[in-house]
Every structure is written in structure tokens, then in C-alpha cells.
Chain length 196, copies 4
Amino acid sequence: MGKKRGQKFDLIINAAVKVIAQNGYHHSQVSKIAKEAGVADGTIYLYFKNKEDILISLFEEKMGLFVEKSKEQLTKDLTIEEKLLLLIEMHLRQLEADHNLAIVTQLEIRQSNIQLRSRINKVLKGYLGLIDTILLEGMDNGFFPKSLDHRLARQVIFGAIDEVVTNWVMKEHRYELVPLAKPLCNMLLTGLKSNN
Amino acid sequence: MGKKRGQKFDLIINAAVKVIAQNGYHHSQVSKIAKEAGVADGTIYLYFKNKEDILISLFEEKMGLFVEKSKEQLTKDLTIEEKLLLLIEMHLRQLEADHNLAIVTQLEIRQSNIQLRSRINKVLKGYLGLIDTILLEGMDNGFFPKSLDHRLARQVIFGAIDEVVTNWVMKEHRYELVPLAKPLCNMLLTGLKSNN
Amino acid sequence: MGKKRGQKFDLIINAAVKVIAQNGYHHSQVSKIAKEAGVADGTIYLYFKNKEDILISLFEEKMGLFVEKSKEQLTKDLTIEEKLLLLIEMHLRQLEADHNLAIVTQLEIRQSNIQLRSRINKVLKGYLGLIDTILLEGMDNGFFPKSLDHRLARQVIFGAIDEVVTNWVMKEHRYELVPLAKPLCNMLLTGLKSNN
Amino acid sequence: MGKKRGQKFDLIINAAVKVIAQNGYHHSQVSKIAKEAGVADGTIYLYFKNKEDILISLFEEKMGLFVEKSKEQLTKDLTIEEKLLLLIEMHLRQLEADHNLAIVTQLEIRQSNIQLRSRINKVLKGYLGLIDTILLEGMDNGFFPKSLDHRLARQVIFGAIDEVVTNWVMKEHRYELVPLAKPLCNMLLTGLKSNN
DNA sequence: GATGAATGAGTGTTCATTCAT
DNA sequence: TATGAATGAACACTCATTCAT
């Protein structure tokens, strides 16, 4: 059964983002999502294998789109520094633009089984690939040292961004997120230590 | 109800770590934890308010202990650099020493409700306080620039360490964790960029 | 709605025999039968009132045909003994010739509601009528005693044949059925007791 | 999990006989049975694996008891003829004494999956064993011919009795059942044919 | 007639929690 | 304190049936 797409697919995905952000995954009954989407309960199962599949598909859909867009932007002729900044900015902008999505992404999706993590990780791999590309290009042109452990660096970059977003969600979006891109990027590039 | 302590309290906590790490939180029935602990189902409720309380108490107990130990270590007369390295090393060592605890800490505990996050965050605050202390001391003695946004820095440090541990857990502990402390610490202090 | 006949009617009936024999009635979704028949789900409802109607119609169709054929054969000029043997042989032969039909007839059809039994019984009545005809003719010509309780006798004959077939189906058709006609017929006619 | 017995086990079994006889198996919701038994829904699952298990356990319980009783009676010093008659009489009497049980036994239990049939058959085997014992003893002492196919004979006897009971149930118990034992027994022993 | 996407009623089962002993 | 049998609320999912095309 290849995944069916169509108007209803998006209808359900968007309803799910809203309902899950408001109630949390475990209190978001399938019937509640169906009602919000304006379809019958059973219709959900024409487009999704089960309730968990909604959550993961939602992530794949939204995050996949984001990765696509980002990949495209990063083909531009920019310096490594500009590319990293751009990526961070896009990341923060995307989530600041959709608070519900941010809640689902930073909190609810992490409630999924270890097994489901593999599907999540597949999507994440796409994102991490973008970071890797920047890192490798930078090592190639001397912006980063040849000796850089790029896997560790990738984890540091992703972990830092992710934590910044999560912190913003936990603080209930009480401050602006995008302005943090620049200082965050600098901190990652030059470190915390005074450079004198 | 003040929290009751006693032999059984620890018995249950340790059983929970084992059972939850093996089965995941949602497949760890209270009766399964009780059986592993060698107590009756009902006994659990003499020591814990409900199932979620086991999970959070477990975190409070183990993490609280860790923060205590760390705080103590950090009173030693060390450079800022040494202190940060020590903290990271202790963090990685504690989790590498107990794989089950690492699984619960990095994966399962995140499945808790948004509400429960507040109790988790309270514990985390203790840990983040340690980072802050180092950061502020460093800013004070010129190791870090006065202009450092220490809240952002704290998020970067925590996010990076956390991601490194999570990655290790997701990769099923297939490599050694503690050796990553040194390069991780350096990366955080001097950044990714080449220092020509 | 008079019953519609046509190519598709038979297509569906035959698909149903196959699907139900293989999966059991309760695991034979209408859509599965439709697929096997090569028609759309909705088409089923142009020919049958509901799912149960397929099961009963199937029985009516196959059994009705069998009763017709048998009635015809029994008009021949035969002794009572020959007629009974012929009936039993035809019964066993019909089911041995179509294992799937035998499964449906002996096992699956009995899963229908008490209400539906009335339609089944109507069909059976035709068959039982054949037995009655033989019994009454035999009582008339002295082959059977005048005192015979022919209703009881009919139940004994039908019950015995039915059980022999069911046993064969339950034993997964591991032996030949038709050869049992002769000894079964003898047993019914002369009883189990030694005749000396 | 060995089967738990106890007061509640019987309570539930008896409630199930009543509810299933009145509503049919498929319209006998577990909650309905629980209510009739005066226990909570969940309690059912302390004593039975699932809904089907209630049906089969019920049969095992009631039929098993009957087979025990019959086996005991048949140790008496009786002629073969008397033994067969006794068995038939007990069979008819047991079911005439409990109309609800008869409905479940003759109609509802047959709605179970082919898989569940194996558990049913295991119970039936006990009953069929009783018939076999009589047949073999009769062949041994010359009451039955040495050449008797006792497996076929067993099927004829069981099929006949079963059909007589089913017929009585389908006719909604409108006549007395036990009086049919004698003529039924005779018919099985001496056959239908006139013994000129 | 034929289709098949959409419907939504219906229920078995789990398991955290309680409480009489 | 400790027990564990009993509770009962809660819900994902199926699938027979409909109907607009």
C-alpha cells in the first residue's frame, strides 16, 4: 500500500498538528483529529496505518519539506559562514512561524516508541546531511581544520540548535527565536572562550 | 504526603530503570515493575503517587545524586577549562556506567507529559546551575568574554552534551563515550572554525 | 427486490466459496470476496442484500442444484435400498468433488445466526423431502415397517450422513468419502446389531 | 497461566450460558456477560483469556462434567443394549434439563473458528470414547458383528443423536426429548428395514 | 449497471489504581 | 505496612454498507 496523498491527507496532517499541540499526543484521540479535519474516523485509516503513523507522517511531511527547501537554498554561492547561518535561521524561522508545529516537533514526537524513532531518524538524516555538507565543504576549503571530527561537530551543531528551540517552546514562546540565529552561529564557530 | 524512603523505595526505582530500559515506558506495566522489584502491585502506591511518579522520581533520584557529586567536585581549585571538562567527563561517565539509566534518561523520560516536564526541569535546573556557575566564574576572570550571552551558552553546552549522549544511546552504545569528553569540550570552547 | 441473476452473480458466489473456505466466514471481508470475483465492493450489493445473504445464497444455489439433480435421479425405477444408496452416494460425491464447498457447507454455514437458519432450513427441507419420499414409499411397499417413526428416521439418516461428511472435512479430507456410502447405507438399514 | 477456578469462574460461566442462549454469541458483549454475572468487565479477563475462551470453557466445563458422570454410570453391570440406551438417555436428559445450555451446545458453539474446533473436539473425543467403549465391548461379546466398522458406527450414532437434539432445539423445544431415547436406540441397533 | 472512496457505529481488551484483609 | 484480586474507564481500529459519479 503506497501512501495515498490527496486533499484529505493534508487536511488530516494539519488537523493533527493542531490537536496534538493543544492536547498532547496521548490525549489526542483519533476521533478528535478526525473531527478537526472534518472527516470520519475511518477515513483516517485510508491515509494512515495507525495513530502513530499520523504523528510520524506529519513529521516526515513537514520536516521533509523543510529539508528540501533548505537544500535548495544552500546551493547558492555563499561562504561557509553564511551557509551555516542561513541553515540555522531557516530552522528557527520555520518553527517560529508555526508554534503548533514546534510543540509537536520538540515535545510530542519524542514520545514515540524506540521503533518509531527509526522513521524519525531517517528524516533527521536528511537534515543532518545538510550540516555535513557544510562541514565537509568547510574542511575542504580550509574554513574548518582538516582534523575536525565532523560527526562530533554535527552532533554539537544539531544539539545546540535543537536545545535552543526546545527551550523556547518550554518557555512558551515568550521571546523571539530568529534573532538568536546570529549569536548562536557565532558561538558555534568561534567557541565560548575569549579570543585575545 | 512526604516522600517515603526506605529499602523498598530503592528496590522499586532500580527495578523501574531495568524494566523501562528493556521494554520502554509504555510497555512497562506497574505490575511488571512490581514483580521485578519483588513487591506487590499495591506496594508501589505506598511509595509513589502513580506510574509517572516512578519515572520522575527515578530521574530525580539518579540525577539529583549526580548533581550533588558534581557540585562537590567543582569546588576544587581548578581552571575554568578543567572544570568544564570535568563536568562533561562526569556526565558521560555516569551514563556510560549504566546503560539502562542512559536509555531511560535519553529516550524514555522524554515521553512524559508536558506537565511532568516541570518536575524534570526542576532537576535539570540544578544541573544547568552548575554550568552557569562555571560560565559566570569564567566571565568574571576573563576566560569568557564579558559580552557572553550565558543563557544561550548554557543551552549550547547542554544541548551538545545531551545530543552526544543520545546519539550514543541510539547507536546502541557501540562506541566509548567518555573519550569524547575532551574533543567535545575543546569544540565548545574554541569553536569549529580554524584558528589560523 | 427479486434476486438478480447474471454472470456476476455466479462470479461472486464462486469467489465466496473459495474465499470463505480458505479464510473462514468471519475473516472473509466483503472486499476480499469482491476482489477475488474481480468486481467492485459496491457491485456485491447489486446482487446480494448483505454479507450474510452471500453465504445463504451460496448454499441455496449449490444445494438447490443438488436437490434438483437428486430428485430427478430418484424418479428412476429402483428398489428402496438402491434409492437410499443412490442418495447417499450423490451426497458424498458432490462434496468430495468440491472440497471448498464441503468446508463451507459443513463448517462455515453453521456460523450463521439463528434467524438465518430458517433460510438454510428451507433449503434443507427440500433435501429432507427426498429422504421422506423414500421412507414413505418404503413403508408403503413393506420394505420399512408401517410403525416406523419416519420423522425420527429422517433425522437419523440425515444426522448420520452429515456427521460422516463433517468428520471427513475435519480430518482434512485425508481419506476417500464415496466408498463409505455402501457400508453407511447398510448400517442405517440393518442396524448395528448382529443379525443371527 | 493455569486456569483459575473459583466462585467467579462458575458465576461467569453460568451468566454466559444464559446471555449467549438469549442473544446469540455475536450479540453477547463481554460487558453484558459481566453484568449478568455481577462482576466488572475486567474481572472476566482474570478467568478467561478472551471472549472465545468463555465459550469454549463453558463447553469444556459442562460437557466434561457430563462425560464424567456418564463414564461412571457405564461401569455398571449392564447389557450392551442397556448401556447404549443409558448413554442416549443421559445425553437427551442433560440437554432437556437446561434449554439454554442446549441452545449454546447445538447452535452457538458451532459458530467458533476452525481453530477453536480443536478444543471442542478434544472434549468431544471424551464423549466419543464412551461410544467406542460400548461398541468394542459389544463386538467382543458378539452383540455386534466382528466385522463392524466401529469408527463409522460411532459417527452414525453420534450424528443421529446430535441431529435429534438439534432438531428439538430448532423446533424450540416444543416436544419432549427424553422419550425419543428408546426408539432412537432401537433404530440404531436394528436399522430401519423391516425384520420380516 | 458499476465503481470505490467515504462513512461511523460498535466493542474487546488493557492496565493504572483501589481497598478489604 | 503489605497484599493482590477486583475494578471500570478509556479508545484505537475494523469493515459492512452507502451513494455520488
